[in-house]
């Protein structure tokens, strides 16, 4: 029989299916439905935050523009950054992909705490409404890092703190939920070293979410009461210190960037073996390096503070550890590239996005090393060099990874395929426009362009200003092309939803458990809980599941 056909009735202790529109789609406890809810909500905030970016770039197309007032510009970059981190990247990678894929990949029927899963999601829209709603009463202006004292003098900081606090609670709960799920609910026979690498990534990410986020909650509570009740933690006149905020904020926010990249690493590790049809090279190295990265991520936070007056004996260990964390990351990249070697490669859209990731994230990782060295960071800190770096790792890394995952798991989630040709157009336009937008930023940053400026005529003599202005104009145009490339995806998604080609259980011919059930899966995921016999990437050998038969005639659709 074909893979995934329901042959037997589900076992008795599965709850009956939800009935009615509200329990099926609104207050749902089904991890797959919750994943879709996260995708839609994050997608909406991605569009809003992206529009803010385009507004910012319009303002920066010339050195002395008046497209946005200084206040609005400040609000724009603050909400853009905050939204992209907390309302887009973290929710999509954890709440959406984590929910959609991880329980299926471990052969479970759902996560450990489905009610908490639902609750976690429903904290998310209010957080977003608070953050974007702040535009009506005065949005925060001091950047997504909201350093006091200046953040305490601008409106919107308390609202920002409350919004991010909510999303932090959501993130913590999801982290705890996912940790318990993977530790306790793996299918029989699925030892740690037989887990798919996306699950490894999810576990480490969940650990970071569960542990580091509480620290952010503390920081945000501190900032909130500082603005509303004038509590003096950050006020030097009353015994406090602005640098305290930086320590507490970055102690969370550095692990946060790993929350934003580790699941993307996991996606890469899933997509490559499927489309080169061979085992991933260096499974253990990739798995264990994720753990190493997760642990080291707690020990490097002050590399964001090298100009904040830290003593040199404090700067030194942070510099060393930051350089050290590049090693496990490099190992992954080399392993992924080696997996391409002697594969049988089908260059589908998901794989293209993976390659885009490999190219751009590697570049971003390299500029990260430039920023790790204290003397060089001193020059580059808080300039457009950093803006370039962060977009190469977060957009080049996380976003390309997210699109790879979206194209890959779209058929599983919806039962329909996305159009391959449109996918390729999307990729090439996005990849070229991305590099055109962010590569020149390294250059203008080194030459003197600071971050968070609405105009830039003051920082350059006339001759240099001509170069900087022309470069900024080029960046702006590229940024608009980059935004437009997303429309291709939107159109593709709509077409697919309206009647795209049906996918079947396993359109890609992959071997992880999510492909061993229907697309989309039934609410109980699997008719029988699978029994796992070996690892998930052994192409050429029989399927490693005792109770799932392989269809000998099945050929991947692409």
């Amino acid at each position: 029989m074909a893979v995934g056909e329901v042959a037997v009735e589900p076992q008795e202790h599965i709850h009956p299916p939800p009935t009615g529109f509200v329990s099926k789609y609104i207050i749902s406890f089904d991890h797959k439905v919750i994943a879709v809810q996260y995708f839609i909500t994050s997608g909406l905030f991605f569009v809003l935050a992206g529009l803010l970016a385009e507004l910012m770039r319009a303002q920066l197309s010339g050195p002395h523009n008046n497209v946005l007032s200084p206040t609005t510009y400040n609000e724009a970059f603050t909400v853009h950054g905050s939204a992209m981190v907390w309302l887009v990247t973290i929710p999509i990678l954890t709440g959406a992909f984590g929910n959609l894929v991880m329980p299926l990949q471990i052969g479970a029927r759902d996560v450990a705490f489905p009610w908490l899963n639902m609750f976690s999601f429903w904290l998310f829209p209010p957080a977003g409404i608070l953050l974007f709603g702040s535009f009506l009463v005065g949005a925060p202006q001091a950047g997504w890092t909201e350093y006091p004292p200046v953040s305490l003098m601008t409106p919107g900081t308390a609202m920002w703190s409350a919004a991010i606090f909510l999303i932090g609670v959501s993130s913590t709960i999801t982290g705890i939920n996912f940790l318990v799920t993977v530790i306790k609910m793996r299918a029989p026979g699925m030892t740690w070293t037989r887990m798919p690498l996306f699950v490894w990534a999810t576990v480490v990410t969940a650990f970071l979410s569960a542990i580091a986020t509480a620290n952010l909650s503390a920081a945000l509570a501190g900032l909130f009461i500082a603005q509303i009740f004038h509590i003096p933690f950050f006020d030097p006149a009353r015994g406090g210190s602005p640098v305290l905020w930086q320590h507490v904020f970055w102690f969370y926010s550095h692990p946060a960037v790993y929350i934003m990249i580790l699941p993307a690493f996991g996606i890469i590790s899933e997509v490559i073996p499927t489309f080169v049809r061979r085992p991933i090279f260096g499974y253990k190295a990739i798995a264990y390096s994720s753990v190493g990265i997760g642990l080291i991520s707690f020990m490097v936070w002050a590399h964001h503070m090298f100009t904040s007056g830290l003593a040199q004996w404090v700067q030194l260990p942070f510099m060393i550890l930051t350089m050290a964390v590049a090693i496990p990351t490099g190992i992954k990249i080399f392993s992924w590239v080696t997996t391409l070697w002697r594969g049988r490669i089908r260059l589908t859209s998901p794989l293209l996005f993976v390659m885009g990731f490999l190219s751009t994230f590697t570049f971003g990782g390299v500029t990260g090393v430039f920023l790790a060295s204290v003397p060089v960071d001193i020059h580059e800190h808080a300039t457009y060099f950093v803006v370039a770096h962060l977009h190469y790792v977060l957009f080049g890394g996380s976003m390309f990874g997210i699109f790879a995952g979206l194209y890959y798991w779209w058929p599983k989630m919806t039962g329909r395929l996305l159009d391959e040709r449109l996918g390729k157009w999307h990729f090439w336009l996005m990849f070229i426009a991305f590099n055109a937008t962010f590569l020149p930023m390294h250059w203008i940053g080194l030459l003197g362009m600071p971050r968070r400026v609405a105009t830039y005529f003051a920082q350059f003599d006339p001759e240099l200003l001509r170069t900087i202005s022309a470069t900024n104009l080029f960046i702006t145009i590229s940024a608009f092309v980059l935004g437009a490339s997303m429309l291709i995806f939107a159109y593709n998604a709509l077409r697919s939803a309206r009647g795209g080609e049906r996918a079947g259980s396993n359109p890609w011919g992959a071997r992880t458990l999510e492909w061993m059930t229907t697309s989309p899966p039934p609410y109980y995921n699997f008719a029988e809980i699978p029994i796992v016999l070996s690892g998930p990437y052994e192409y050429g050998k029989p399927l490693p599941y005792a109770n799932i038969k392989q269809d000998p005639d099945a050929v991947p659709l692409h």
Partner: protein, 197 residues
């Protein structure tokens, strides 16, 4: 869900209990991180201060706090005995010990109110200097946790009276006990950091 617990077989109950226990422990770890961040902030500001307490301010009185601590630790003892009573199927003693825990918890909170009003009368305030800010924020958070703990215990009491728990199946009580001990441990840290150090 509580009623669900009675209608499943032992194997499934144990499995789910394992999930809940791990989840609850992770929650407690996350909660400790919350306290640790504020403790870091307190120590950071204190280390940078040339003189501590700041000039003109007095340290809070150890005696009252010591008595209050004994009250709180006492409630930890009564909670322990409550758990023992549950295991030995002694309903009456169980209810008694839980009530004692609740009463001691509320006494602790009352003691904190006295402590707070005393300090405020001596110009140590929440929004004055970091001295008061750290003290009130951290002990306030702790007090809030005690208050939530009391509500937790009242809930456990109601569940017991409804006959939900058995000697084998009483995860809600286990969680409440763990939480209550957690609150005690946090208090050890805060007492040491504010009254001893």
């Amino acid at each position: 869900m509580a009623t669900h617990a009675l209608h499943v077989d032992d194997a499934l109950y144990e499995e789910v209990r394992g999930h809940r226990l791990l989840g609850f422990l992770l929650f407690l770890i996350s909660d400790s991180i919350l306290f640790m961040s504020f403790i870091f902030g307190y120590l950071y500001n204190r280390a940078a201060a040339p003189v501590w307490p700041p000039p003109g301010l007095e340290r809070p009185d150890v005696f009252l706090a010591a008595v209050n601590s004994i009250v709180l630790f006492g409630s930890g003892v009564t909670m322990h005995f409550a758990m023992e009573s549950m295991r030995h199927e002694n309903r009456k003693r169980f209810v008694g010990f839980v009530l004692a825990t609740i009463v001691l918890g509320l006494m602790f909170l009352g003691g904190q109110v006295i402590e707070y009003t005393t300090l405020i009368r001596h110009d140590v305030t929440w929004n004055g200097t970091t001295f008061g800010a750290s003290f009130f924020t951290l002990t306030g958070m702790h007090g809030f946790h005690v208050f939530i703990g009391v509500i937790f215990l009242i809930t456990v009491l109601i569940q017991t009276l409804k006959g939900v728990y058995t000697t084998q199946r009483h995860f809600g009580l286990t969680a409440a006990t763990l939480y209550w001990h957690f609150v005690d441990v946090i208090w050890v840290a805060l007492f040491s950091l504010f009254y001893v150090y």
